[in-house]
């Protein structure tokens, strides 16, 4: 596998007067396991939406494996090796679990329908959801839908995987299971960028943590350094103290 290199330079995404992402630069090299955290509304999800092509950037450059991709549609970025899940789970509700899983592999022409179906069953076995193969996705529980989204990304087999709030609203046991899957896939050489509100999870799982606040990157480094970073403490404690003041009022 070629070395992974994703370079984001001066990325901006503005909605009218709202600067949701305001000049983010990040360099991902190799199969890094990166956590992207920040208070509510700090621009985390908009950043990955923009990197993946869901939104057109206001300014900035995105280079993946030496190729500029910021003007490509999202399917081209997916085909080049950027995969993602969504903050609010977005499975194909009226399609079966197997069909959900087959879509990305067929889109990338990873074999005939029967070969891809076989791959889908392997992924279902890995995620222990094989018994749900023929079930419509709308009948799955929230946690099962999270696993299905993860499975779809695995079927896409990208080099960089963006997971948006993979642990939100998930039972602690399932959360442990997702941790395990992330570690195993990471060991296979994939890079991860995981967006989460859950700081403890991110600090326990990731080897590099990026912190955003008000659309800007305020810290980037190893978990220990970030944990003690004054700007980070200020961003989080600032939010906590405002909340306390509001509750007091």
């Amino acid at each position: 596998m070629a070395d992974i290199e994703l370079k984001i330079e001066g990325l901006k995404k503005h909605f009218g007067g709202v600067r949701a992402v305001d000049g983010i630069s990040v360099h991902v090299q190799g199969n890094e396991l990166i956590g992207l955290i920040g208070p509510n509304g700090s621009g985390k999800t908009t950043t990955i939406d923009t990197i993946n092509g869901l939104f057109k950037q206001t300014a900035g450059k995105i280079t993946f494996q030496g190729e500029r991709i910021e003007n490509m549609p999202s399917y081209e970025r997916a085909r080049r090796g950027l995969g993602r899940t969504f903050q609010v789970t977005r499975v194909f509700q009226r399609m079966s679990v197997t069909q959900n899983l087959m879509v990305p592999a067929l889109a990338l022409s990873r074999g005939s329908q029967s070969e891809v179906e076989k791959q889908a069953h392997e992924v279902m076995a890995f995620l222990t959801i094989e018994r749900l193969a023929d079930e419509n996705a709308q009948n799955l529980s929230g946690g099962q839908q999270k696993l299905l989204e993860l499975g779809r990304v695995l079927m896409l087999d990208p080099d960089v995987i963006f997971l948006d709030e993979p642990f939100a609203g998930v039972h602690p046991e399932l959360s442990k299971q997702i941790h395990k899957y992330i570690r195993e896939v990471h060991q296979d050489g994939k890079a991860f960028i995981i967006v989460s509100h859950d700081m403890d999870t991110i600090f326990g799982l990731c080897e590099r943590v990026i912190v955003m606040n008000e659309g800007k990157k305020i810290a980037d480094g190893d978990p220990e350094a970030v944990r003690t970073d004054e700007a980070v403490i200020d961003a989080y404690l600032g939010e906590a103290s405002e909340k306390a003041q509001l509750e007091g009022a």
Binding site: S74, A78, R94, M95, V103, L106
Partner: protein, 310 residues
């Protein structure tokens, strides 16, 4: 899985054999005409199922595309010395090309906006045909040559029957291929489909073009079967009828939608003595189905009999 294949085989072979034997048992010209029109509506309902039920593109353009093919074919026959078959093919291609154009223009539209756009397009086509009477003979309708030099309905019956079987077979194969999966993924959530590598522009356009081609096929058949085409047929009510047929059958199942078209045409014909009230009954049935049976009346039956969605 083997059982599913077997059941499906029995159903399909049964339908084809049953259909092929109809003229042996039905001698009435009137009823053969009804059968022929029922198959025509079955095909139109299937085209709507293909585009809306699978690809999620709520379009009102199907009947306008039918008019385009029919008028193109009839006008070519009137003004050029081209062979009859070539006129039909050009008519179908014209419908496909316009479908490509609409598909491209509608790429960013969803739901009500797509519906409104295609209503505007359809009304535009109908009004142009109505107004340009020097070319189209306007509301008087355009005469078209017959397919066969006979007054018998039997050749027409077999022609539409073969057209229906081949059209449904092709659409079915497409829907069972990876294209069908991509259409459904686009229907469910096109942003997610794109994030998973599906070229949504390409597949939305393919869905429109395939639908347009089969509307074109239905259009040239209708024109040369009735030997007349009028812009009145392109009224929104006709499109509503086709949509209602597909929904009552089961819009997310091609076979059920087709059977919905066939059976409802028979139903409407049987109730002809009720006059306008039969359409009220049709509307009532449609409302009941939309409210209580979202998958239509025949799609659940198909699932129960066969053991899978399609």
């Amino acid at each position: 899985m083997k059982h599913i294949g077997l059941r499906k085989g029995i159903l399909f072979v049964g339908l084809i054999l049953g259909g092929a034997l109809v003229p042996v048992f039905v001698e009435s010209s009137y009823w053969l005409h009804v059968f022929t029109m029922a198959y025509f509506y079955g095909l139109m309902a299937a085209t709507w199922s293909f585009l809306d039920g699978y690809a999620g593109q709520f379009s009102f353009a199907n009947i306008a595309l039918l008019l385009i093919a029919g008028y193109t074919s009839a006008l070519l026959a009137k003004h050029t010395g081209l062979p009859f078959l070539l006129n039909l093919i050009i008519g179908i291609i014209a419908s496909g090309v316009i479908g490509l154009f609409i598909g491209y223009l509608c790429l960013r539209f969803k739901g009500a906006y797509l519906a409104l756009f295609t209503i505007a397009f359809s009304e535009g086509i109908r009004i142009i045909i109505n107004t340009e009477h020097q070319v189209t003979r306007g509301p008087a309708g355009l005469h078209a040559d017959a397919f066969f030099d006979t007054t018998s309905k039997v050749p027409y019956y077999y022609l539409i029957f073969i057209i229906l079987v081949i059209s449904i077979f092709i659409m079915y194969r497409i829907l069972r291929s990876k294209w069908g999966l991509f259409f459904m993924a686009i229907r469910e959530d096109d942003e997610v489909a794109s994030a998973l590598g599906v070229n949504i522009v390409r597949y939305k356009i393919i869905a429109f073009v395939v639908t347009s081609i089969f509307c074109g096929v239905a259009g040239v058949f209708y024109t040369h079967f009735n030997q007349m085409l009028t812009p009145n047929f392109g009224e929104i009510a006709t499109m509503g009828l086709v949509i209602g047929m597909a929904i009552i059958g089961g819009v997310e199942n091609l076979i059920a939608a087709m059977l919905g078209g066939i059976l409802l045409e028979f139903g409407l014909e049987s109730l002809r003595e009720l006059g306008a009230w039969r359409m009220v009954a049709f509307g009532g049935l449609l409302m009941i189905v939309v409210r209580f049976a979202r998958n239509g009346l025949l799609a659940p039956l198909y699932r129960k009999l066969i053991g899978e969605e399609l």
